[in-house]
Structure formats: C-alpha cells, structure tokens
Symmetry: C2
Subunit: 232 residues, 2 copies
Amino acid sequence: MMLPIQTFDSVSSTYTYLLADPAAGEAVLIDPVDQKWERDLAQLKRLNLRLAWVIETHAHADHITSAGKLREVTGAKAACPAGCGITPADLQLFDGDVIRFGRAEEIKVLHTPGHTAGSMCFTWRGNVFTGDTLLIDGCGRTDFQSGSAEELYDSVTGRLFTLPEETLMWPGHDYKDRSVSTIGWEKHHNARLTGRDKQGFVELMSKLDLPKPKMIDVAVPANQNLGLPQGV
Amino acid sequence: MMLPIQTFDSVSSTYTYLLADPAAGEAVLIDPVDQKWERDLAQLKRLNLRLAWVIETHAHADHITSAGKLREVTGAKAACPAGCGITPADLQLFDGDVIRFGRAEEIKVLHTPGHTAGSMCFTWRGNVFTGDTLLIDGCGRTDFQSGSAEELYDSVTGRLFTLPEETLMWPGHDYKDRSVSTIGWEKHHNARLTGRDKQGFVELMSKLDLPKPKMIDVAVPANQNLGLPQGV
C-alpha cells in the first residue's frame, strides 16, 4: 500500500496531504494552508518532486488555502469542487471525476455534501481523504455555509462507509494529535454516526451549538479565490 | 515504497512512527511518548494491528517513553540500543542487528553515536528513522548525556549520508511542522553539516550554548526504565 505524507499546521490543526509518484517525480497536495506554502514547497524540493495538482476538499471556513500561491510559484494546476464557488480553479471537479498524475496515479472524486454543499472526498490507492466530512471519531460541523446534517449523514453512510473497511481514512483536521483511521473502525465506532439513524444524527448536530468560526467571513471568500488577494 | 505512519506529540514536538505489515496485522512503534500511549493504542486498534515491538532510538532527555506501558498492555517486546542503559528491555540492540516483524519485514539497526553514546538509527524499506541524530536541516545536540560532536559528525557523514540519496529521512523531532526529508537533501543542504569539516562542525556545536533540557534529570532515568516508575 502506498501511503500519503501527512503534514500538520499546528495553528489551524489542518492536515495537508502529499501524494507522490516518486519514480515520476510528481506529486499532488490536498488542502495546503496559506502560511505553510514555503514549508510545503521546501518539502517538495527535499523529496525531489514537482507539484502537478493542488486539490481542495471544499472552501474552508477556518483557514485560508495556499492553492493560488502554490499554483503561481510552481505552475501546478488547481482542482476544486464544482459546488464551492472557487471560480479561478483550473479544473472544476464533479462526482466520479478522476485526477491523474505521475505515470498512472488516479485520484477518484466523491461528492460528499454535508459539511458544505460542495464538499468532496478523494480516494487513492486504498486511502480516502475526507476533508471535514468525516473526522476521526467525529465529523465536520453542518450548521453554516450551506451545511446540512441530513446530507452529511447520507454522504458518510452512503458513500464513505461503503468503501472497503480496510481503507485508510485521512481526516482534514485532528485536534488530539491523531493521524489516521480506517473506514471499518469509523463505521463501527464513530461517536457521532455509529448507532444513529438519520433523524438521531440530525438532532445531535442541531444541538451542538458551536460558536461561529472566527475566520469564516474572511476565509470563505479568500478560499473561493484560491487564497489569493481579491482582484488578483 | 511502503511508508511509515508518522504521529506527533505536540507537547514535546516528538514524532512517533508506526511501521506496519497490514496483511499480517502486525506493527512496530518507534519512540512512543508516555502521555500518548492511549492514543497510540487506539490508533493500532483503528488500523487492526497488533503491536510486535516498541523500539527506542535512545534514552531521551526531553520526554518520557511509553515503551514499558505499551509492553505491559499489549505484550509487545521492547528493543533498545545496548549502549543506553535501558536495562529492562527485552532485546539489547547492537549495530547490524535486524528486528523482524510481520511476514518478512526487516528493520536494520545502525549504531550512530553522537547525540548520546548509545543512539541508533533504523532503516526499513527505503526509510531511515534518525531519532535525534539527524533532524530536518539540523541535528541533535551533543553537549550532554555522553554526547559527542565528533562522533555525531562521523555517524552522520559516515553512516547516514552513505545511504542511498533517495532514502526518506524521518526525524525524531521537528519544531516547524515539517514531516520528512531525504538523505540526499540533507547531505547537500543541511544547515549544520553540509560544507563543514569535522573541526568546523565541532566548533559550531560547542558554541550553541543551549540551556539544560528541563526534563533531563527525570526523563533519562525514567527512560532507562522504559518509562515505568522506578522499582517496577
């Protein structure tokens, strides 16, 4: 099994993933963070990899992407979920699309609305990158920015939990220094989803009463512009 | 290439590595941290892996290992560098030893004195785990606990930098959210080692004037007892 390289932004607790085909010298980044673009570029250099794609799981509300900056400095292309309003992306992604890189690497696109209406997950070589749709022993919130607990429930139970149980599940965030889970474990043990029907899940999510994300008013428009200043 | 799973302890900035043979359901942990033993155990459960070995790169001065605790709760064996005084280990490691797990996984042992006299690095499937001997764009300190800048220079230039350049180098710590490097990059760009002869390196290290590690008086004896309370 080929694993991704997982890198953490300790400011926003965001995981960025580097998927590589070392023999072809080509790589993809999923969900890179604005203030870490130089770190990620240095990491690509250390590993002797050329960046082919920057991929976003959604328009984040808690941090700003470095997709635009990385595209500018590397010539990589940006691929973003069609339903997220990220208009300057080079490729608008739809469910079922395949992103190709390296010699024969294929990243498959799953549209998984719920955290936001446009949110997507990506599968690659027995791994799934779940963004804020599914977290380790939890899930993304559904109470703002086109979120829907009903849709998240359907996305997770109907799309993610039907992947092979041994699929490694790599979340978009973790707040307890945890790295990875499996679809099988989450299916049978997830604190929010396991043992709840849709109605029970929707009820639970409606009672979370979370504060408004501090950065949302800045982050969402910025991310819809690939993290670049407006007007650029 | 098979990659390890890298997990971070944000309190001590320590990386713990999980090496797995998923088909055999067996795993090894390198340098687990005391306060994270339940996290690491939960991660093994999520991945459906049985812990075969806990391996230490050295007797740490900045944090306490969970090797003893993990051995107690999982039945795994502890393998530790012979020169570190970790007397309750199940296996005392010597240069050239091989630790086997899973169906046919082999971890090779390199004695790399310098950070401490007993420090070791481990290679596995194109990866090297360098503990505090070599860090990304840096190296471990050599000014306490049997450290020696001369020996570290010889260990890094004579042992680590002679590994294939594409070898992925996984450090024991990083303080800037970086994950991984390569032997080739460190050989040609490391801020402390590249372009310095042994004398120049020794001089540099002698001038660092670092404070005494806060935890050293507690951590070293604790780690020499696998992190278990003394007398257990």
